[in-house]
Structure formats: C-alpha cells, structure tokens
C-alpha cells in the first residue's frame, strides 16, 4: 500500500490536476503549471545532493583503494572545490556568481569555457569520420541519405556556387521542402506518443519502476 498504491495515486492526482488546470486560467488554477515547475526545481535541489554524494563516494573509494589512476580523483576534487568555493564566495561578494568581476566568472571563462569549446569542437573531426564511414551507397536508403548530405554540404560553401550557381538554391529547396515534411511527421508522432504515454502513466499502466 505505502510502497505501491500511494505513489500511483500521487501520479494520478498530480497528472489529472495539471492537465485540467491547463484549460482553467482562473486563479489559483492558472498558475499551477508554473508552480509544478517550481516544485520540480526545489525537489531537484535535494536530489542534486544525491548526485554529489554519488560522485564524491565514487572517487573516495578509488582514492582509498589506491585504484589505478587514483590521483585523477584528486584532480576531480580540486575542480569541484575550485568551482564550488569560488562560486559561493562570488555569490556572497557580488550577490551574483556571474558578475563580470567575480572570481567564479574568471575561472568559468579561463578554464571551463576552453574545456567546453574544445570538447564541442571535437565534433568537427567526428562529423568527418562519421560521414566517411556512414555515407556509403550500401542500399537505397543509405544512398538517399548520402545524396542529400553531399548536396547540402556543397551548397553551403562558396565552392558549391562555383561548381553550379544554382546549387545554393537547390540546397535551400531541400532544406525547406524535403526536410520539413518528414520532420513535421516525426514531430507529430513524438507528440502523439507523448500524450499516449502520459495517459498510460496517469492510468497506472506504465509504471516503469513504481511497480
């Protein structure tokens, strides 16, 4: 009962209330959607502790057992403390960790941003290796994939214009017509699937881990 029925009831009630209030602008119902999001972020604050706990423990075990590469766990702790402490200090000093003069913003820009940008920029290499490997005319479907990819790739750089001056136009036609149709279909499918899944959740048919 406590472990099964009540959670299912909570899901049912929350779900129904939020769906119904979508149609009622009158207070207090009109704001419930927003409130649900606020609640979500509050609960999220607590579960973040679980995440931090899981990570800290994971690296602590590595350190204690002197597992292979244990000293990288020290690097992890340094990074964690660096951003956390400067964040808290900046918050207290400037009332906003993202103030341009704060130490947090400074570390963010000098360490985190280059790391993010570089990791992101790995894509330039991976998009090349993926196209080399995947775009082979193995069968008819793969050929379609290949053909539009190559046309669009060429059509978006000056070389494409030099090859055939209509190529940029063809490219935008492909993007606006050939691409838009199926993407719309996919989006409609996802939306209907989401609604169906929501109904299953409310009815307690789809329980994932609650059963």
């Amino acid at each position: 009962m406590l472990k099964k029925q009540i959670p299912l009831a909570i899901t049912f009630i929350t779900g129904v209330i939020i769906v119904v209030t979508f149609f009622i602008p009158h207070p207090p119902f009109g704001r419930l959607q927003q409130d649900a999001l606020t609640w979500y972020s509050v609960i999220f604050g607590f579960t973040m502790l679980l995440g931090v706990d899981s990570l800290v423990k994971f690296h602590y075990t590595k350190l204690r057992r002197r597992e292979k590469g244990w000293w990288f766990s020290i690097v992890f702790y340094c990074g964690f403390l660096l951003s956390f402490i400067t964040g808290v200090i900046s918050e207290i000093r400037f009332g906003d960790a993202f103030n341009i003069n704060s130490s947090f913003m400074y570390f963010y820009n000098t360490i985190l941003v280059p790391l993010q940008s570089t990791m992101f920029a790995l894509l330039a290499f991976f998009i090349a290796s993926a196209s080399y490997r995947a775009f082979r005319a193995r069968n008819i479907d793969a050929t379609f994939l290949l053909v539009t990819a190559v046309i669009v790739m060429l059509g978006r750089v000056p070389v494409g214009y030099m090859l055939w001056h209509k190529l940029p136009d063809l490219t935008s036609w492909i993007l606006n017509v050939l691409q838009l149709g199926p993407m719309r279909g996919i989006m409609i499918g996802i939306s209907l699937g989401t609604v169906a899944m929501s109904l299953r959740l409310i009815l307690g048919i789809e329980r994932t881990y609650l059963s």
């Binding site: 472990k3 009540i6 959670p7 909570i10 049912f12 929350t14 209330i17 939020i18 769906v19 959607q33 409130d35 609640w39 972020s41 609960i43 999220f44 579960t47 973040m48 679980l50 931090v52 590469g69 990288f72 690097v75 992890f76 990074g79 660096l82 956390f84 964040g87 918050e91 000098t110 360490i111 985190l112 941003v113 280059p114 990791m119 992101f120 894509l123 330039a124 998009i127 196209s131 379609f144 994939l145 290949l146 053909v147 539009t148 190559v150 669009v152 790739m153 978006r156 017509v177 149709g181 199926p182 719309r184 279909g185 996919i186 409609i188 499918g189 939306s191 609604v195 409310i202 881990y209």
Partner: protein
Amino acid sequence: MHISTNPWVWIAAILTLAIYSFLYKDNPFYKFAEHLFMGLGIGYGAVLLWYNSIIPRLWNPLAHGTSPTRFFLLIPIALGLLSLGIFSRRYSWLIKYPLAFYMGAVTGLSVPVAFEANIFEQAQGTILKHSMFSNPWLGISNIIMFIGVITTITYFYFSKQHRGLLGKSARVGIVYIMLAFGASFGYTVMARISLLIGRMQFLLHDWLGIIK
C-alpha cells in the same frame, strides 16, 4: 610571433591540447582534463542551481515573501527530504513519493506542450492552402512536402502490419526520413567546422601569436 605571457591563456591552451590528444588515443593528459572538467562541472552545476532556483524560487519567497501561498513550498521541501531516504537502506523506498510526483508532473506538463506547440501547429502547416499554389513550382514543392508529412506519419503506425497501401506509404515515409536526415547532417557540418576554426584561432592567435 608573440607568444602569450598570460598564464591563464597557457592553462587554456594546455587544456585544449589535452582534450585534442584524445583523438589519437586515451592518455593521462586527457584523463587529467576529463576529471578536472567533471569536478568543475558538478561544482558549477551546484552554484547554478543555487543561483537559478533555490534562491529565487525557495529562499526569497519563504524569507521575504508575504503571499499566503508561499507555505505550499513546504510540500516540495518535504518531497525533497523524502528523496534523501535513499541514504538509508530501510527507507530507500521513500524516493518513490517524489518520483511519483514527477511522473504526474511529466504527464500534466507534456500534454499541453504536445498540443499547443506541436500537433496543431504542424497539422495546420500541413493543410494545403490556396496561397501555396501561387506559382506552379511552389505548388509542386508543397505537394511534395505534404506527401512527406503524411507518409512519415504512416511509418509510425504501429498496430497494423506494414503491408499493402500502408506498407507502401510507410516505405515512402522511410525514404523521406532518410532524405531529411541527410540534409540535416549536411546542414550541420558547417557549424561544426567553425567550432574547430574557433579553437585553431585561439591556439594560433591568442596563445602562440602566429597570426594577427
């Protein structure tokens, strides 16, 4: 050539190269950058959470607010505390309560989004209108797009065997999907290459000072 004398530029450059070394193979430099990144990321996430949600959404209304409804915020706090039950073996099932709330919230929040933003807007855009046929080429294009939407939807028809008309339509749908995916892929290449260009400029301009 003016190599940078700013130690922070050097740190950024070394971290950049450390990440790139991964392209060759896994190595201690990458591992260093990776662990530093994850550590910074979790600290950053905690600060972000504090700054974007706990203070404005929980602390401010409770400490400075006057609205009587602010005490409703005690409910998510209680649910949040229940999730901490996972630290104890005996009470770990308490996590099911906040999770059940989430399930309900997912349902409630995603249904309106599905209708408002996606289904209707997409369906309305699909209906062929008189204005779509102002010239023959535009008309043909719109018919081609229309067929694309319809056949793609039939591909996602699950409860019937894909045979006969449905089978043919779903087959056309897959062809459309492949054409669309190829186009999306090709479209993105440019943006991805510019990311690398950005890093190269950082290394060659800001750090090594080889280029102006």
